[in-house]
Symmetry: C2
DNA sequence: GCGAAAAGCTATCGACCTATAGGCTAGGAG
DNA sequence: CTCCTAGCCTATAGGTCGATAGCTTTTCGC
C-alpha cells in the first residue's frame, strides 16, 4: 500500500479511509477487503519499517568491531534504508496512535529498537570510546535527528540519500567520539561494516508472526 | 488555555473540542465564546512558543561574539525555555496542520526561525569556526533534536531542564566545532551570553499584531 | 467453459465532529 | 434598581467518520 503515505503527510487521524481509497483508485468500503480495520493499515506500514530496523540494530550489536565504527555504520545504513522507502514512515511516529491497543506490538518493537540503541551507546561509553553523555539523551537525540532529517525529504531532497546518510553518521559521531581525530579511522572501519549490516538485515524471510 | 496540552499528546486531529472542553471544565460549545474556531486555539498555543523563540534566535544573531558561543548559548536558552512551558508545544509541529491556511502566519513564523538559524550556522561555517556540513542538514538536525528531546519530557523527566539544556548545546557544538578543544572556551563564553539572550527575548511587550 | 473465491461496487448505519442559534445568569456601571 | 455585557448553558444543524451488508464482477484452477 505504497499510496498510504497520506498517513505520513496528514497524520493518522487526519487521513480518512476515503482519502486512502481515492489515492489508490477505489471506493472507501473496498479498502476493507484488504484490511480489517484502519489501524491494521498503519500497522503494516509501521512493520515494514520497524522489522528491518530492528534487524539492523541487532546486526550492529553483534558485529565484532569498535562501538564507534558500528554506530557510524548503523546510522548510515539506517538513514539510507529509511530514505529509500517509498513513503515517509517516520512521519507516523509522532502521533499518539502508537499507544492504541491495536498497535501495541508495533509500540513494543519500537521500544525494543530504542533499548538496543541505548545498549550500543552504553557499551561505547563504558569502553571509553564515547563521551559520557546521558544514554537516554543520546538515544532521543539520534531518534529526533533521524525523524527530522527524513522529514526533510518530503520537502526538498537537497542531497543524495547516501550523502545525507554520511552527514547524519558523521554528525552523531563527531558529537560522541571522545577523540575527534579518530573520525577518519571510524569512517573507514564503518565503511567495511556497512555491507555486513545490510546483509544481516535484509534476507530474513519473515515468518509473518501472529 | 494551559490544559490544551491535549493537542500535544493526541495531535490536532485526534483532539476534539469536546475533549478540550472537558479538560477545562465546560461544555463543548462554550469553547466558542473564547475562540472563533478550533484552529485559533492551536494558533494561540503555537504563538506562545514561536514568538519568544523568534526573539531568541534574533538576539543570538545580533550579539557580538563568536558564532560557536552564540549557538551554544542560544541552544541552552531555547531548550530551557521550551522545557519550562506548561505544555509540550513541540508535539504540535509534526502534524501537517501547519499547512492549513488558517495557520499560515504561524507557519511563516516557523520558517523565519529556521531561516535565521541557518543564517547563524552559515556565518559560523564561513568564518571557519564550524565544520562545513550542509547548512540545511544542520538546521534540520537541530530541529529534530529539540523536538525529540522535549518530547522525552512527557515520559520520563530524567534530568533537570538546565542539565538537559547543556546536554543539547554540548552535543550540537561537539558535532559542529572544527576544533573540539575549544569546547570549554565556547561554554564559558556562552555562559556569559545566556543572560543577554534571555533578556532580549523576554521583555518585548508584543503589540499583538493583525 | 465452469464454478468458486477474490475483490470491487452501492447503500447505509450509528457515532462523532465542528460550529451556530438562542436563552439564562451573574456582576459592574450609571 | 436597571441595563448591559460577558460567559455559560441546551439543543441542534449539517457533515464526515469507520465499518457492515449484500450484490456484482473479475480472475483463475481445472
Amino acid at each position: 500500500m505504497e499510496a498510504s503515505r497520506l498517513f505520513a503527510e496528514r497524520g493518522y487521524h487526519g487521513t480518512s479511509t476515503r482519502d486512502i481509497a481515492e489515492k489508490v483508485g477505489m471506493r472507501q468500503p473496498s479498502i476493507y477487503s484488504h484490511f480489517a480495520t484502519k489501524h491494521l493499515i498503519l500497522a503494516e506500514l509501521l512493520d515494514a519499517d520497524l522489522v528491518p530496523a530492528r534487524a539492523r540494530i541487532r546486526a550492529a550489536l553483534d558485529l565484532p568491531a569498535p562501538v564507534a565504527a558500528r554506530l557510524h555504520a548503523y546510522l548510515q545504513v539506517d538513514v539510507a534504508a529509511i530514505l529509500s522507502l517509498p513513503y515517509d514512515v517516520r512521519g507516523l511516529y509522532n502521533d499518539d496512535v502508537l499507544r492504541a491497543p491495536e498497535l501495541a506490538e508495533q509500540a513494543r518493537r519500537r521500544a525494543e529498537i530504542h533499548d538496543l540503541t541505548r545498549e550500543l551507546i552504553d557499551t561505547g561509553i563504558d569502553g571509553g570510546e564515547l563521551v559520557p553523555f546521558d544514554t537516554s539523551f543520546v538515544q532521543h537525540a539520534i531518534t529526533g535527528l533521524l525523524l527530522e532529517v527524513v522529514r526533510e525529504r518530503g520537502a526538498t531532497p537537497s542531497t543524495a540519500p547516501a550523502a545525507r546518510a554520511l552527514d547524519v553518521a558523521d554528525f552523531v559521531l563527531r558529537a560522541l567520539l571522545l577523540d575527534a581525530k579518530l573520525l577518519n579511522d571510524v569512517r573507514a572501519r564503518a565503511g567495511a561494516l556497512v555491507p555486513h549490516i545490510t546483509a544481516l538485515a535484509a534476507p530474513h524471510p519473515e515468518h509473518a508472526g501472529a
